[in-house]
Structure formats: C-alpha cells, structure tokens
Amino acid sequence: MYQIDNLVKDLVKQHGRAREALMPILQGVVAQHNYLTDEAMVEVAKELDLSAAEVYGTASFYTFLDTEPRGKYVIRVCKTITCAMKGKNEIIEVLQEMLRINVGETTLNDKFTILETNCIGWCHKAPAILINDTPYTDLTREKLVKIIKEYMHQ
C-alpha cells in the first residue's frame, strides 16, 4: 500500500491543484484505500490550499467517498423499490449471517463492509449489489453465498 502523502502527491501531479481537481483526487484515494482517512483529507487540503473542513464537506456529500473506515470489499446492497420488492431483505439477511456483521459495519479482519445504497441502475435485473465497483445481479440466496465465498477465499 502507498504512503498516503505520496499517493496524494501523485494524484496532484496527475490532476493539478485547481478546485476542480478535488473530486478526481478524492476518488483516486478511495480507489486505493477504500475510504478517506483524516490524514488523507488533511493532505489533500494542504496540497490544494483548501481547509480540511471543505474537503470533508465535499467528501461527505458523496455516498461513494467514504470518510469512515471501510473493509477491503465494500458490499453495497441496493435498497430502492425494485430491489426492495425482489428480495433485498433476504440479501441482507444472507450477508449478515455469512459475515456476522450488521449493515454499516466492517468485519474484524477489515475485509468486508455491508452498506445499503440508493438505486444503482440494475432494476431490470433486481435484486442487485455492488462489491466495490463490480455489480452482481439477479441474485438468489445460492448465487450470493457462492459469490461471497469466493471473495472470502481471495
């Protein structure tokens, strides 16, 4: 894993120091680290001559820019109407049972986090989840168990 300050410096080289560089830089940090540590936000603020509060304010607006500790695999379960009607609750039940954590929590080994998300655009193949950037759709209990087991062994 990168040192945070080096990672931020690399991202600044890539995207510049203008205010509009803030989003791609934050996304770049999350791509490497799963969430924005306080240290990372302070570092970004320093590089872009913003206050840390402004960086936090921006990050906290976006669901996919987490400012709380997250596992290596962030599982986001779609909670919007179609997925909800097609078995979202069961999906969550299975995940909670397998990972022994509740929604919003991270496993002790920092591997998995379960979150709910608003519509991710897979209504036609509901219920759907995202694991990091990969969507899994048309889920059944059996399919989901298989997917999670694969991640567990990775």
């Binding site: 306080d38 206050s51 840390a52 509060a53 402004e54 936090y56 304010g57 906290s60 607006f61 400012t67």
Partner: protein
C-alpha cells in the same frame, strides 16, 4: 436600465440588479434570511420568494435578476402561503426554545416567525432532544446545531471574508449540516475565534461563550477587587444594544454604568493601547536600525502588528513561517491585564491574588487570547474574564440601569488616562496612524506632517490600504532614516490580510510596517459587537471613533502622562528588560488543518 413593475408600481434599476434590490428602491419590504450584504448570494432559504406573472414557479428575489417588462407580486396569495410554509418548515428544523435562547429578541428567525407564522403549524418538529449536541469546547464560540437552519452565512463568512473555512457544509438532504473538519470540536480545528460567524448567524446556533455569571460572582465577592477595562471600539457601538442609533458615542455613560454595576475600578484599554504604541513603535524603530544599519539578517521586516488575536491565530495556523514578522508586543488587553496585577496592585497596595481583571471587548477572540498560557506574566491569569460588547449590554439591562438617563463620568486613575491615539485603535488603520504619530516624532522631534495629525491615507474601509511617509529632519541618533520613505500597508478581514501578505512573501510588494485586523472594519466590526453589523453601521462606528479622537486633549501616545509615569515608576523605558518580561510574548506553530 431595466424597467419592471413590483405590485403594479413601475421601477427602473441598472442591469444586473436583483428583484430584491428593485423592491428596496420602491420601499417594498421583502423578508430575507440567508441573504447578507457582506456575502455572496446563495438563495437557499427561499424566504424571499415572490411571484413573477406568467412564471410557473415562485422566484427567490435575492438571487433573481430583474428583467425588462417583469411583473412582480410580493404579496399575492401564492406568495403569502409559500412564505408561511417556508418559515414553518425552517421552524420545524429549529429548536425553538426561544425564551431560553441567548438570541431571544434579537433573532432573525424569531422575527420572521412573529410576522409570518401565526396560527396552525402544519409541520411536525424534527428536532430530537436526545440528538442535541452543543459544542462548548472553544473558549470563544458555542455551536448549537439544533438551532441551525443551514442558511450558510457562517460558511460564506468564514470562506469569503476570512479565508479560514473552519466551517463547511457536510452531508446532504436531511443530513446536511454545518461541520468542522470531520465534526471535530471547534477547539481542535483551524478557527481564529474571530466571531464573524456569530454576528452573521440569524439564530442562536452560533453565539459567544458567555462569562457574565462569572463576572457577577466576582463583583458580589467582597474579598475581590474587580477592575474593568473597556476597549476603544466598545464605546462607539454599545449604544446600539441599548436603543441608540449606530455611531452614537456613549463613553461617559459607559463609565457610570460600569460603576453602578459594581466594578471597583473603571479603567481604559486605551491607556494600554498608548502603551502598545510606545512598545511597538520602539520595536519598529529598533528593527529598522538592525536591518538598515547593522545589516542584521535575522531581523524580520516588514513588522506585522499583533493586537488582533484572530490575526495571530491565523498566522500560527496557516503561515507559521511568518511568525518572526509578528510584533512581540502583547495586545492592549493583555498589557493592561499584566499591569493590573503588578503595577496597579503595587500602587494601590493590593494583593494581586485578590484582583479580578475583567475586560470589555468588541471581540470573541480576546476570550481565547486571555486563556493563552503565555498570558500569565504577572504570576496570575492576567485577564480573568472577557465580556463582549453584547454581554456588557446584557449586564446593564440586568442591573435595571436606565442608560439614557445616566450622567457621564471619567475613567478612574491609574491606567484610565488615554489619548486619541489609543482611541483610534478601534478602527482599521488606527494602530498604524497612532504608531506613525509617535514614531515620526521620536525620530524627527516634529509632529507628523498631516493637518491636525489626521493621517487620512491610512483611514477608510477599503480592504487593503497603502501609504508612504518620507522621513525628513531626523535627530542625530536616527540619522540613518533621513530621507527614507517609510512604506506601510493596512488590511482588515483575513482574506484581505492573506492577499496582502502573499504579495509580501512573493516579493511583489515591500513594506516596513503592516497593520492587520482580523475583522472587517477593524475592532469596530468585531465578532463581539452588536448584531447586526454591516457596512453602513461599520462606517458610522468608524466616524464615531475619529470624532472621539478629535475631541481628546491629547492625541499622541507619548504625551499620555500616565504612560510617562508607568515608564518612570515601573517599566524603565520602552523595550526595557522589564517591559520585555511583562509586555511582550511569543507565538507558536499550530496545526495547519
């Protein structure tokens, strides 16, 4: 010009004017809330909505530009209903325990509720008592989110006027709130304590941390000798909180009121402002000598003033590399504090442990400053309690004093005599003017070459001011300054300060002496001053400061007989060893974020 009608009345306004400005021209009142003259337009509270004939939706008059032929209705059924609902929706997210609120009777939301939200309330109250968190960690500012209506005036103030952005908008939708970095306590983030957010907050969400009760306790304690000092900017603003128009000077009544409240000795920060000039003026001349004659590379020029604790904390957080440029002089408040428990205690034969030192300040950052560990040179806490102008107004009302009917009176002695130079500390440019009046005379033996001592180029509300003064006819010991053009600059508001010092750092501009005040207008626009404060009011207070100066018998710090006495009897001479021990301080580097 753009021609439109508002409530069928025709009006012409320059292109780019908002509908709100057009209505003001017709003396038609449209209620506003998030709108503030000092800040950019956001149009997020919607209180100012009006109907545009032919348009489907209502428009926010503060943000919407007037266009040709527009027909605006400010009082139609649609507007009245919408306005009522908007105010009630704001109230549903606001902990409206008005009778217990610090801003009771001086709250813009309360005023709106009083005017527009009578009768049935349609919306349930969304404030959950068990979720209320009040941040009391700061020495200066209390933040209570349960009273926040997210108008973002504080956020805009902190970003636009102060370039600090201690507060930002976080989250979204129903979870939107005004946060520090990761919701850390205010005491642990980059905040200068300037209180400019407080004087723009329309509700009680941001208030000063009050010490009224502690001061009453000290007054009632028979064993304590309670001294009070009043800052220059208080006397030109206090009246506003007691029913006077802005710009009214109440110096004499202020003294009487403080006596009636029960302070044992009513003294003046203007005295220690004069003392600051002696110390800082000497420091400037010493630094000039070190640089120009001795070629000393360690000595930093330009010299920055150090009276404004908001400015000090700004440098400590954001530009610690510039700390050597800061004058080592304590602020007048702290010079007074340390002398009260040493010099004054000795003269009055008092045990300093029995003295309680209170200051009345236009400032919230002064509360933090008084708590700094460096500010105990007397062996005690030099200034025990700091009250804002607003807090003093509350104490005067609590005492049942009929302020208007009070006789005027003079400050006590010792440490109550001052000059016009001390008075003008309250306005931006004032410290510079006072310093020049003294330094020029030290060097040349002559008065500054300006009519009536009024150094007009350093005055006024322009964000950054520059001036130069040619030094001619130097005394022998200052011959190295002969013919030197003394370059000075002044900034007020930390955004302006940041601009100015960036020019210095980049080498784009060079000066000998720079005055910075953290608050727009200087102390007269401080975060502890009466609410509201705006440009018109600031100008009136500035005018009052200079009028007060003109009426003073003495107008140069070095002519103050009590200053001459304190050096003769106690301190020796300016920048003496003892003066350094008591009146000077040092600064520390703080977290950047």
């Amino acid at each position: 010009m753009i021609n439109l009608t508002i409530n069928s009345k025709p009006v012409s306004v320059p292109e780019g004017s908002t509908v709100l400005k057009a209505a003001e021209k017709l003396n038609i009142h449209i209620p506003t809330l998030c709108n503030h003259d000092d800040l950019c337009v956001v149009g997020n509270c919607r209180v100012c909505v009006v109907e545009q004939k032919g348009a489907r939706a209502l428009i926010a008059s503060c943000a919407h530009p007037a266009t040709e032929g527009m027909e605006i209705l400010t009082n139609s059924l649609k507007v009245r209903n919408a306005r009522k609902h908007i105010v009630e929706l704001l109230l549903s997210e606001h902990r409206a325990d008005c009778t217990k609120c610090y801003r009771n009777q001086n709250c813009e939301l309360q005023t709106l509720a009083n005017a527009y939200s009578y009768g049935d309330h349609l919306f349930i109250n969304l404030i959950k008592d068990h979720e209320i968190m009040i941040d009391q960690t700061s020495a200066s500012i209390v933040k209570d989110d349960s009273k926040c209506i997210r108008c973002q005036r504080c956020v805009r103030t902190c970003a636009e006027l102060q370039k600090v952005s201690a507060l930002a908008v976080s989250g979204k939708g129903c979870n939107q709130k005004i946060s520090t970095f990761h919701d850390r306590p205010l005491s642990h983030v980059v905040c200068t304590n300037c209180g400019q957010c407080i004087i723009r907050c329309p509700t009680g969400a941001l208030t000063e941390k009050t010490q009224i009760e502690q001061v009453w306790d000290a007054i009632y304690n028979q064993g304590k000798h309670v001294v009070v000092q009043t800052a220059p900017a208080v006397r030109v603003a206090l009246g506003e909180d007691l029913g006077y128009d802005p710009g009214e000077r109440v110096t004499g009544k202020l003294v009487t009121a403080l006596r009636q409240i029960g302070f044992d000795s009513v003294l003046d920060t203007d005295f220690s402002a004069d003392l600051t000039i002696m110390e800082e003026g000497t420091e400037l001349l010493t630094r000039l000598k070190k640089v120009l004659v001795d070629g000393d590379k360690e000595t930093a020029l330009p010299l920055f003033t150090s009276c404004s604790p908001g400015w000090i904390k700004f440098i400590e957080h954001k530009k610690p590399g510039l700390i050597p440029h800061l004058s080592t002089c304590k602020s007048p408040q702290q010079m007074f504090g340390v002398l009260a428990k040493t010099y004054y205690a000795g003269k009055r034969k008092l045990n300093p442990a029995d003295i309680v030192s209170v200051s009345i300040m236009p400032c919230t950052a002064k509360k933090f400053e008084a708590n700094r560990p460096e500010m105990r040179a007397s062996g005690y806490k030099d200034v025990d309690f700091v009250l804002t102008t607003r807090e003093l107004a509350i104490m005067i009302r609590q005492s049942g004093i009929d302020f208007r009917a009070l006789e005027t009176d003079n400050y006590d002695s010792i440490m109550g005599t001052s000059t016009g130079a001390g008075v003008i500390f309250g306005a931006t440019g004032g410290v510079m003017e006072a310093a020049l009046r003294t330094a020029y005379e030290i060097v040349t033996g002559k008065e500054v070459p300006f009519k009536d001592l009024n150094i007009v180029p350093v005055r006024g509300l322009e964000g950054v001011k520059e001036a130069s003064l040619k030094i001619e006819g130097c005394k022998k010991e200052w011959a190295f300054l002969e013919g030197v053009e003394l370059q000075v600059a002044i900034a007020h508001g930390l955004t302006n300060a940041d601009k100015l010092i960036s020019k210095v750092v980049s080498g784009e501009a060079s000066y000998h002496f720079i005055e910075i005040m953290a608050c727009p207008g200087g102390c007269i626009g401080g975060g502890g001053q009466p609410i509201p404060t705006n440009n018109t009011i600031r100008q009136k207070r500035v005018d009052a400061i200079y009028a007060e100066d003109m009426e003073m018998k003495l107008r140069k710090s070095h002519d103050n007989p009590e200053i001459i006495a304190v050096y003769k009897d106690f301190l020796g001479e300016p920048n003496s060893h003892k003066a350094h021990e008591l009146l000077h301080t040092q600064y520390i580097e703080r977290i950047r974020n």
